[in-house]
């Protein structure tokens, strides 16, 4: 059940209505049922994987908390990590590595059978496994007490607004809210609806209208000229941002309708003045996860320079790998790591970056991020080099992309809204405005959403993760 579907537009208000009509103590159970129902619309059997992850981490956390012995704590932590990362590896990475090894063996002249398993990638697996890992590690580090109520913990893992595409929530944030008694408040309903409206606009109007153009280009980039190449790579930057950001807003808005507060996942990342700031604004829940559970565990920056460089490259490469089982994702992560290091080292040695005119810094950051996205979008490294050839004028193609003036206007509208919201979120920004301005904005968003949404079916990009 996608967020941008009639099924969800019916499901959500029905859930919200029943939720507030139920007695408070039954609400979490109802939400748990709805969350599993929601997930099972994708593939019923894969709900067993969430259940397995839930059971593993519920008992592992309790066992960790229930002992003072370091060895036992470590044992249960490792057990939890092995189960969660094992599930992730089998369903997401096994085929990739198995095929790579088989290919290498073949090149070496050794016979090998086709090792690929006929398994589909369960939706949201990268998100919920990381969420449960964060819980177990936080219990291990005494940052949080384990949840005693199994059902409530199961709800934390499977909470439907953020189950399939984040934000990846810490137990200290979402888990504690699940214990609170939530009363019906108008501002929750209003803010939730505002976020959903803006999220749908971002995803269905901007991302879904850019997608066909990007797909057309990436089907055969060598056919296209330099201008088309530039358009396509820039459009993809906005497509992936609007797709994921839109989905996150709908998730946050859906949770807000039920009285829950999820963390912001994006804070106008394309307004960043450097890579460091970009990673503080882009997919915040994932970048903070890697910071807390990998980077700091490796020592962070409290190590030698060489070790610190190693830490940065490992974290960024694994972050790339998280996005998908392909060398292009790892390469994309590595590039960001190298750019991050370059910025930090240049900043230390030269003051040139900090004294640069702010719009120039924003443009430079956007350009670097956009170029890196080429690897993210391409099926392999060779393909991305073809795209770069076209982009820098070494290609032979002449075809152009047919881009309507409306799309440029919509993009401009979005960029303007992003700039206006650079230190704010849409619901917080619009709430205090005069009613005429508020309803004017709603009218524009609603009209664009209903009249101008992209029609060709575009599956949510981050679902592949």
């Amino acid at each position: 059940m996608l967020f941008n579907s009639v099924e969800y537009l019916i499901f959500l208000p029905v859930v919200v209505l029943i939720y507030y009509l139920l007695p408070a103590k039954m609400r979490w159970l109802f939400l748990l049922f709805c969350s599993y129902y929601f997930y099972m619309q994708w593939e019923a059997a894969y709900a067993l994987l969430i259940a397995a992850s839930t059971v593993t981490d519920y008992f592992a956390a309790r066992a960790i908390h229930g002992t003072n012995k370091k060895k036992k704590k470590n044992y249960w932590l490792v057990f939890s990590l092995v189960v969660n990362l094992g599930i992730l590896f089998v369903f997401k990475y096994y085929n990739f590595f198995a095929v790579e090894i088989a290919n290498k063996l073949q090149l070496a002249g050794l016979e090998s059978i086709n090792p690929a398993l006929p398994i589909l990638l369960p939706v949201g697996i990268s998100f919920y496994t990381f969420q449960t890992i964060s819980y177990t590690v936080d219990v291990y580090n005494n940052k949080v007490e384990p949840e005693r109520n199994f059902g409530r913990f199961a709800l934390y893992v499977s909470f439907f607004p953020q189950l399939v595409a984040g934000p990846i929530e810490r137990f200290t944030h979402l888990g504690q809210q699940l214990k609170r008694r939530i009363s019906l408040r108008y501002d929750n309903l209003a803010n939730g609806s505002r976020l959903i409206l803006f999220g749908l606009f971002t995803k269905m109007v901007i991302a879904d209208n850019l997608a066909p153009l990007v797909d057309t280009f990436y089907e055969n980039p060598e056919e296209f000229g330099q201008l088309a190449s530039l358009q396509a790579v820039v459009f993809y930057s906005f497509q992936i941002y609007c797709d994921f950001h839109g989905y996150s807003l709908i998730a946050i808005g859906s949770a807000r309708l039920l009285g829950f507060d999820l963390m912001d996942n994006f804070r106008t990342p394309y307004m960043s003045q450097g890579l460091r700031e970009f990673w503080q604004r882009w997919h915040i829940s994932l970048s903070t996860w890697f910071q807390s559970y990998l980077y700091l565990q490796l020592g962070g920056n409290k190590v030698s320079l060489k070790r610190w460089i190693f830490n940065i490259l490992v974290v960024f490469s694994l972050s790339g790998l998280w996005h998908g089982a392909n060398w292009t994702f790892i390469f994309w992560g590595l590039i960001h790591g190298l750019l991050y290091l370059s910025e930090k080292l240049l900043h230390k040695r030269f003051q040139v970056l900090s004294s640069m005119w702010r719009p120039l810094k924003v443009l430079l950051t956007f350009s670097l991020v956009t170029l890196a996205w080429v690897f993210f979008r391409s099926p392999d490294i060779q393909f991305s080099s073809n795209v770069f050839q076209n982009l820098f004028g070494f290609g032979k193609g002449m075809a152009q992309l047919e881009v309507s003036y409306e799309l440029y206007l919509l993009l401009l509208l979005f960029v303007f809204s992003d700039w206006s919201l650079r230190n704010n979120r849409f619901d917080h920004w619009i709430a205090p405005k005069h009613p005429l301005i508020r309803w004017g904005c709603y009218s524009v968003l609603l009209f664009c959403l209903m009249a101008l949404s992209g029609i060709v079916h575009q599956p949510f990009i981050y679902f592949q993760f």
């Binding site: 408040r185 108008y186 309803w439 009218s443 009249a451």
Partner: protein, 344 residues
């Protein structure tokens, strides 16, 4: 406290509903015709026929033309000539099915002065190969856009894929299921299903004199199987449901309704595949004739009207006729309309 929330909520909802109607008008004014042009361009044909006595709803059978047929004339044009006292106009496009016809005919305005409807009854369109054709999503989108209800909501439905959208995998799976469905009426056939029959035909069923496989004929025979070797199940067939609704629509609006049962190349089917296939085609044809005559429509049976040499396509079974074939069909159709005496 809760009461106050409900009042605020219902107040805002009322504003949103009012806003929706304003935006709907804005959409109709600014974008609707453009969207119809892109996603349901046949609707424009309807708008062009300001003074049509008879509207002929068809697909490519109406207009397909190739050398040596000149001039380029539709069946509906020939019909027009046969009925000089009436003005016959066509609403046609390649691949249209009964669901498209139904959605379009709801836009007929009184001022157009339409007196009767002629709708092609294309046997092939009842089979899974046509129903789940690669244009499935496009045709369902076209229907959804011009469906009843607010135009703005219909447009939004397209973006939400609320038109029976099927992924490529789902579409192929549905086609595969239908082709593998065991025959019920023809359960004594040597083949249990369309898929099994097709597999047999595709595995060297037609040989040349030298004993080698005649790939051209085998390919054509396979196409005949895939397009005609099905049983129409009235309770489950989506085209049956559409035609039933067309009958209801015509009845509700007092339009005399003529179903034009298209000619099929039965002789070629007989030669290539055999009498079982012809029996199945005849069974389906008769099922349609009986069903719709019982419902009060006039079924003009042109099933065997066009002789083999007047079918234009030789590598695929279609209802594309030469001008001579079209004239034959038009004459039978005109005679039926005149004899029915339902029109002035």
């Amino acid at each position: 406290m809760k009461g106050r929330v409900y009042i605020q909520l219902f107040g805002r909802l009322a504003v949103v509903i009012a806003l929706f109607f304003v935006l709907n008008q804005l959409y109709l004014w600014l974008y609707w015709e453009r969207d119809v042009d892109i996603h349901s361009n046949t609707l424009e044909n309807l708008w062009m026929h300001e003074q049509a006595d008879i509207i002929y709803f068809g697909e490519s059978s109406n207009f397909y033309q190739e050398h040596p047929d000149t001039p380029k004339i539709r069946i509906s044009d020939f019909l027009n000539r046969q009925l000089p006292q009436l003005n016959v106009e066509a609403v046609d496009n390649a691949g249209l099915d009964a669901s498209n016809f139904l959605h379009i005919m709801r836009y007929i305005e009184e001022k157009q002065g339409v007196k009767a409807l002629v709708v092609t009854l294309n046997l092939r369109s009842f089979g899974p190969t046509w129903i789940y054709d690669k244009n499935y999503n496009y045709l369902r989108k076209a229907d959804a856009l011009i469906d009843e209800g607010p135009a703005l909501w219909n447009r939004f439905r397209l973006a939400l894929k609320d038109y029976g959208y099927l992924t490529e995998v789902e579409r192929m799976e549905k086609m595969r299921e239908a082709k593998n469905k065991p025959y019920e009426v023809f359960d004594s056939f040597r083949f249990e299903s369309m898929a099994q029959w097709n597999q047999h035909v595709a595995n060297g069923s037609i040989l040349r004199e030298d004993g080698s496989w005649d790939m051209e004929k085998i390919s054509l025979a396979s196409h005949y199987i895939k397009n005609f070797a099905f049983e129409i199940e009235p309770e489950n067939n989506p085209r049956i449901a559409d035609f039933d609704q067309i009958v209801s629509f015509a009845r509700a609006n007092n339009y005399p309704l003529y179903f034009h049962l298209m000619s099929e190349n039965v002789r070629e089917a007989q030669k290539l595949v055999g009498p079982e296939l012809v029996a199945m085609m005849t069974y389906n044809k008769q099922l349609l004739v009986n069903r719709y005559e019982k419902q009060g429509a006039i079924v003009v049976d042109n099933f065997l009207t066009v002789p083999e040499m007047e079918f234009r396509d030789r590598i695929f079974p279609t209802e594309h006729y030469s001008n001579k074939g079209k004239i034959r069909c038009a004459r039978v159709l005109a005679d039926s309309i005149l004899q029915s005496k339902l029109l002035p």
